[in-house]
Symmetry: C2
Subunit: 497 residues, 2 copies
């Protein structure tokens, strides 16, 4: 077999996947409301073609042949081969009936989850969740390589080489650190947030944030920004990386930070080395690394006083008078108000990670210990009370809030917290080379984007997350940078000395 | 072979074609400007899968088997079989090399056409056009069934059962009739058109026209309206029929009549009987019939005094004051100003058909007689002078204005004129059952849409155009209704008695 044949097969898979990407984007942005049944038929058909090819004879032959002749592969071919082989080996032992049963169970669970949310009643979701857990536990032995615990297996599907041992250690530091910061902030002065609800139209917000993300390095000639219900970014190909958002005219911070966040994902996809295009290497290194890029924008840049001081006059201009009487200090401080809340996706940048740690601890209990599914709501509520000091009044604002478990995406949640820690760690490393405050006070942010491209973006999935972070920052995951950063930002806003 | 197998194959072709439809729509509405090369790769790949399947063993076997066992097909199966067989037989004798050569020639011709337009110089397009003509002439014998002339063969690809004999007859009546109307209008009073250039924002126009097309029967829950450069409507499936338009804030009539026009195409696609979905029967009967539906909206409804009188207050409301001082008479009459012009797509409803007749006569000369390609610009210009009294000053406003010949779409132009004639003839028949003026003065237009669905839309491509028109109107194509209608509308506006 020639490398060319292998790459051609990957290219065709990628072309199908681009088509599915556009259809998926369309489903979530513009598809007429009544078209969803017809759309699922198209999606299933294309996915069928894709799947058949992905496990088809050409790929199988390539895995065998290049396993024996690795020297016949170019650099790109080797990186692609590695990913294809890992994916193949992960799934190759799974009995077909089990894979089908697990997939069918998630469909039923999604329906049950939707109904349970309507009734705000976990008991309607309980059995479907138990079935997802049971089938995932059945799958783990087939997936397992050298991981130590069951939950390590799940974790590794989203963050290669991450372990429970590492996470237990970093999460306990982060949990204690954030809880400590929160205790200290009680002695400070919370900012006035009334200006956050001043009306800003969608058009005004869009005008402002489009300029901001262009400044940050998102390239609109290779992307676009649409409205949706559940915001996401999608990289169709190198020159077509789309962002989506939702707007709230009575809370501009939702849309504005949402777009900054998605633009971080977008900038990553736009700057992966084009040589990897048409292979699975032209993707993010992991969910955690992807989140590190969106959170670098949202949390690191988005908390920076100089950044906002520079952008505020344009913000005022776009708001057409609404903020003319608001001083920069009042504006900036309002953005960094923090308060414990029940809903993860509405949490602020200080408390967010605690939401993740709660989910991590529960998932680990489910897969590494024995836990009764019907006890989960109480466990959930107790942890919220312990870590955040708030207790859900019903399951909708508690355990039913996230879609992930209905889809058996166990092991996914830690990625969000890893993104926070990676972002702060990258920022710390960047500051050794670049005076970030000074750059953000200037008209040209390109040094920042360039640093991220050099150290992260360009590699795509050709390096594992731990290697990427080590190479970029000189050390492995270190949660102290996040804590230092949060302490600095919030102590300043809350006037703690 | 079972019917089910045949229908499943058609369904899969349809699913691929839906995916291509969304990609095509995206290319023309929202794709980032730099994504076009990547997009062509996806398009080509999907088209390859589609084409392979379309001429593949299942379809071939179905053609043979059901040719011998027609009784084993249901009503839908029979209608689908008929179309598949016609398409197959049209292409089956064409040598592969000739098909490839013809396709490659159109790519080159499109490039040459674009360059010639920039230079306003036909000589840069001449050779490529000659090659398109030569290859089309080579293809005609392979396509030919019982048609009398070469041009009949081309005509039939867009309008089955239409002939040069019929068209020569109707076009000469229409040409003489319109030229006669134009002569008489010279004695009348042309309306004042200054109000047409009053500014109306895109948002105001969109608000107005969205309500109007909803009134006319376009269903937004199964469609949407986007911006584009070259407006079109596309039926992805029964519940996803999309319109596009371009807006001119200094000429509201462009966007508003454009959307009314595309909504006519859209209403057709939305109302084809759903039983035909997933087969080639769920399409318009022909280009001419499709145009009859868009032109029914644009010309018949769009020229109706009662319709505009009813809609004008809402138009004024949407324009937020800009038209408050304009009387309804002034507004309506301005819409129906007529003037000879050089560019087809900017022509008004009286002179448009003359542009088509010119193209028809030239295409017929090319394929049924011998004509020197380099003489075409002069022939073109002479005909414009003779029929419309205007002469192009350069090739861009003359023979280079249309894309069709660069794509070898010879025989397509007459469809536009057929659409005009069919629309007027359908209107005449409708009036025997419905008091259209009264309906358009009311709040409920549904009777009109219902009549069109009953007589045209529902059948999709299960009836040939001539049969559809005969069944709907009781007679074959009759151009007098168009002339009567144009005379009535324009004589009233120009105050000719």
């Amino acid at each position: 077999m020639k490398e060319q044949e292998f790459l051609k097969e990957l290219k065709e898979l990628d072309l199908l996947s681009q088509a599915m990407g556009i259809l998926g984007w369309d489903t979530q942005t513009g598809m007429p409301e009544k078209a969803s049944e017809y759309r699922s038929e198209v999606d299933s058909y294309l996915y069928g073609l894709y799947f058949e090819k992905k496990v088809g004879p050409t790929i199988q032959e390539a895995i065998t042949y290049f396993g024996q002749h690795p020297d016949e592969l170019s650099e790109v071919g080797q990186a692609a081969y590695q990913l294809v082989k890992e994916e193949y080996e992960l799934q190759k032992n799974v009995p077909n009936e089990l894979a089908i049963a697990a997939s069918a169970a998630t469909s039923r669970a999604h329906t049950a989850w939707t109904q349970a949310r309507k009734a705000k009643d976990f008991s309607l979701f309980k059995e479907a969740l138990a079935e997802n857990i049971r089938l995932t536990k059945e799958l783990i032995p087939y997936w397992k390589k050298e991981e130590r615990t069951n939950y390590d297996v799940l974790l590794n599907q989203y963050e290669p080489n991450m372990t429970v041992e590492i996470l237990d250690n970093v999460f306990s530091q982060v949990r204690d650190g954030i809880m400590d910061i929160r205790r200290q902030l009680e002695k400070g002065t919370p900012p006035d947030t009334t200006i956050l609800s001043r009306e800003m139209t969608e058009a005004q917000q869009r005008k402002f944030i489009s300029k901001v993300i262009t400044d940050l390095g998102y390239d609109f000639s290779r992307g676009r920004l649409d409205n949706t219900v559940h915001p996401f970014a999608t990289g169709i190909n190198h020159n077509d990386v789309r962002l989506t958002t939702r707007w709230n005219e009575e809370d501009f911070s939702m849309g504005i930070f949402g777009v900054i966040h998605e633009a971080g994902h977008g900038m990553y996809e736009q700057n992966i080395d084009e040589k990897f295009e048409g292979t699975p290497v032209h993707e993010g290194a992991s969910m955690g690394i992807h989140e590190s890029q969106s959170l670098f924008n949202e949390i690191i840049i988005g908390s920076n006083r100089n950044f906002w001081e520079k952008q505020y006059p344009y913000f005022q201009e776009c708001a057409e008078g609404t903020f003319d009487d608001v001083s920069f200090e009042t504006f900036y401080n309002a953005l960094k108000f923090t308060q414990a809340s029940l809903i993860r996706i509405e949490a602020d940048s200080l408390t967010y990670v605690l939401h993740i740690i709660i989910r991590y601890e529960i998932e680990k209990m489910i897969f590494n210990e024995e836990v009764n599914v019907e006890d989960l709501p109480t466990i959930w509520n107790d942890k919220y009370e312990e870590y955040l000091g708030v207790r859900p009044q019903n399951d909708l604002e508690g355990i039913l809030q996230d879609v992930h478990w209905s889809g058996s995406s166990f092991g996914y949640f830690p990625s969000y917290a890893l993104g926070y820690m990676y972002a702060a760690q990258l920022f710390h490393a960047m500051e050794k080379e670049i005076d970030v405050d000074a750059v953000l006070a200037s008209d040209d942010y390109s040094e920042i984007r360039q640093w991220l491209t050099t150290h992260i973006h360009q590699y795509g999935a050709s390096k594992k997350p731990n290697q990427l972070i080590l190479d970029a920052t000189g050390e492995l995951l270190n949660p102290q940078y996040l804590l230092d950063y949060l302490r600095k930002v919030y102590f300043s806003v809350y006037q703690i000395r």
